[in-house]
Amino acid sequence: MNFRKYLFILIPYSWLVALFLVPFIIVVKMSLSDGVMAIPPYTPYLTLTEGWAGITNFFTNLDFENFIFLTEDNLYWIAYLSSLKIAAISTVITLLVGYPIAYGMANASNEWRPTLIMLVILPFWTSFLIRIYSWMGILSQEGFLNQFLLWLGIIDQPLTLLNTNIAVYIGIVYTYLPFMILPIYASLEKLDLSLLEAAKDLGCNRTQSFWLVTVPLSKAGIIAGCFLVFIPVIGEFVIPSLLGGADTLMIGTILWQEFFANRDWPVASAVAVILLLILMVPIILFQRSEQKQREAE
C-alpha cells in the first residue's frame, strides 16, 4: 500500500522536479557563467567525463560577473525601479476603478449578481493578447479616442497616446481589473448589513459609514486584489511591448531583449534571478496576510 502511494506521488513529483526545479537551477547556474560568442552562447559546461577535475574547473569558472555588470549599468536599475513604479501606480488606479464596480455589484439585487459576476469573468477567458490589441486601435494617432475627442472639440490636435506610459497604464488596468474586482466583491458580499444600520443609528451619514464601516471591513479584499495585480505586473511583457514606447522600461521586456536580441543568455539569467529576488518580497507579504486572514476567520 505504502509503496503504491509513493509511486503515485512520484509521478507528478518527478515531473515538477524535472520541468520546474531543474530548469530553475539551470537559470541560476547560467547567471554565474560567462557569455561567449557561440551557440549556446555561454560557458562553462559541466562535463562529468573529466571527473573531479571537470567539477572543480566548473566551479572555479562560476563568478558574479553578470551581477556586477548589472549593478554597473544604470539601465537595469532604472528598469527594475520603473517596473516597480509602474506596477505600484497601476495597482492604485486599478483599485480606484475596481472598488466602485465591486461595490455596485455587491449592492445589486440577487437575481442580477450571477450575471454581473459572469460579465466580470468573461473577459478573463478571452485572449489577453486580443484585449491588448483592442486598445491599439483605440489609442493610436488616428484611433477612436482621438477621433471622438476631436469630434467633441475638446482637442484640436490628435494626442499621442499609443507607445507611451499612459497606454501601458490603461492596458494594465483594463486587463487586470477582474483580479481586483472579484476579491473585493467577495469581501463586500460577506459584509453584515446590520453594522451599517448600527452606524446609521449612531449618527453616521452615508459617507461616514462607508469610510468607517464598509472600507475597513473590505480590507481583506482590497489587500488581496492589490497583490494579485501588483505581483504579475512587475514581470509583465506583452503590455509594455505592444502599448509602451521607447521610454517605457520594464524588466520583462529587458529580459526578452537580452535573450532574443542581444543573445546574452548569462545576463538574461542574472536579470531573471534578481527579478525573482525582488518578487519574493511581495509574495511573502501576500502569503502572510492571507494566513492572518484565515486565522482571523
Binding site: M1, Y6, F8, I9, P12, Y13, W15, L16, L19, F20, P23, F24, I26, V27, P40, P100, I101, Y103, G104, M105, N107, A108, S109, M118, L119, I121, L122, P123, W125, T126, S127, F128, L129, I130, R131, Y133, S134, M136, G137, I138, S140, E142, G143, Q147, Y174, I181, L193, E197, P232, G235, F237, G252, L255, F259, W265, A268, A272, L275, L276, L279
Partner: protein
C-alpha cells in the same frame, strides 16, 4: 441597503462599458471594408475569407489547438493527482518542497518560466517544437488545475470515500466510483482553464517553440507588432465568439446540474 442607488448604477455602467467597449469596437471593425482599421468604409466580410485562405494562420491554429488539447488533458490528470496527494496524501517525505513547487509556477513571471524551460531543453538536447510547447504548457497549467480541484476535494466529506473502502472497494475503485463523480465539475473547469491558458500563452511558447511550430498567439503578436490589421480583427472576433459561446453554455449546463441535484435531493428527502 440592497437597492440600486444612482452611484451604483453609474459605477456599474461605466465599469462594464470600460470592459466591453474596446472589444465591441474590435468586433465592429472586423466587418469594415477598408484596410485602415480605424476608418469605416462600409460592411464587408472580406477579412474573414482572407483569413480562411491564409495558410499560415490556419497552420498556427492547428498547432495551437493540438498543443492546447494534449497539454490540458495531461495537465488535468497530473493536476488532479497533485490535488489528491495534497488533500488526502497525509505526510510524506518532501511534502513542503512539493507544495512550494505547485505554488511557485502560479506567481512566476512568464518570461522566467520560458527562459528556464528553454535552457533545460537546450541542455538536454531536445529539439524545440510542438512537443516542447506541450511539456511547458502542461507544467504550468497542472498547477492551476491542482488549485481548482483541491478546493473542491477539501470541501467534501472523506467518510464517503472511507465507507466505500470499508464496503470492499480498493482505493482506486473508491476514487473512480465515489470521489471522481463528486469532483467532476472541478476537474472539468480545471481542464477548461488549462485549455484556455494554453491557447492564450504567448511568452512561454515564444521561448520554447521551434521555427516549424508557430502557435496562434505568436503569429498574432508578430503581425500586431507591425501595426493594426483587419485580419487580426476578424480572427479576434472569431476567438471572442467561441469563448463567449463556451462560457455561456457551460454556465447554463452547470446551473441546470445544480437545479437537478437540488431536485433529486428534495426527492430523496421526501422518499426517505
Amino acid at each position: 441597503m440592497k437597492r440600486f442607488t444612482w452611484f451604483n448604477t453609474i459605477s456599474l455602467t461605466l465599469g462594464f462599458a470600460f470592459l466591453y467597449i474596446p472589444m465591441l469596437i474590435l468586433i465592429i471593425y472586423s466587418f469594415n471594408a477598408s484596410k485602415l482599421v480605424t476608418v469605416w468604409a462600409g460592411f464587408s466580410t472580406q477579412w474573414y475569407s482572407r483569413l480562411f485562405n491564409n495558410e499560415a494562420f490556419i497552420d498556427a491554429a492547428w498547432v495551437t489547438l493540438k498543443v492546447g488539447f494534449i497539454s490540458s488533458c495531461a495537465a488535468t490528470i497530473l493536476g488532479t493527482m497533485i490535488a489528491y496527494i495534497m488533500v488526502r496524501g497525509g505526510r510524506f517525505y518532501g511534502r513542503s518542497l512539493f507544495s512550494s513547487m505547485i505554488y511557485a509556477p502560479l506567481v512566476m513571471p512568464e518570461v522566467i518560466t520560458g527562459l528556464s524551460l528553454l535552457l533545460l531543453f537546450i541542455s538536454i538536447g531536445l529539439d524545440r517544437g510542438v512537443f516542447t510547447i506541450i511539456l511547458a504548457h502542461t507544467t504550468f497549467s497542472m498547477c492551476y488545475v491542482s488549485v481548482v480541484v483541491s478546493s473542491r476535494l477539501a470541501s467534501f466529506d472523506v467518510s464517503i470515500e472511507e465507507a466505500a473502502i470499508d464496503l470492499g472497494c480498493t482505493a482506486f475503485d473508491a476514487f473512480r466510483s465515489v470521489t471522481l463523480p463528486i469532483i467532476a465539475p472541478a476537474v472539468i473547469s480545471g481542464w477548461l482553464l488549462a485549455f484556455t491558458l494554453s491557447l492564450d500563452d504567448l511568452v512561454i511558447a515564444s521561448f520554447v517553440s521551434g521555427p516549424a511550430s508557430t502557435t496562434l498567439p505568436i503569429k498574432i503578436y508578430s503581425s500586431v507588432r507591425l501595426g493594426l490589421s483587419p485580419e487580426i480583427n476578424a480572427l479576434s472576433t472569431l476567438m471572442i465568439a467561441v469563448v463567449t459561446f463556451g462560457v455561456l453554455t457551460s454556465s447554463i449546463i452547470s446551473k441546470r446540474a445544480i437545479k437537478r441535484q437540488k431536485r433529486e435531493e428534495e426527492q430523496a428527502f421526501k422518499n426517505g
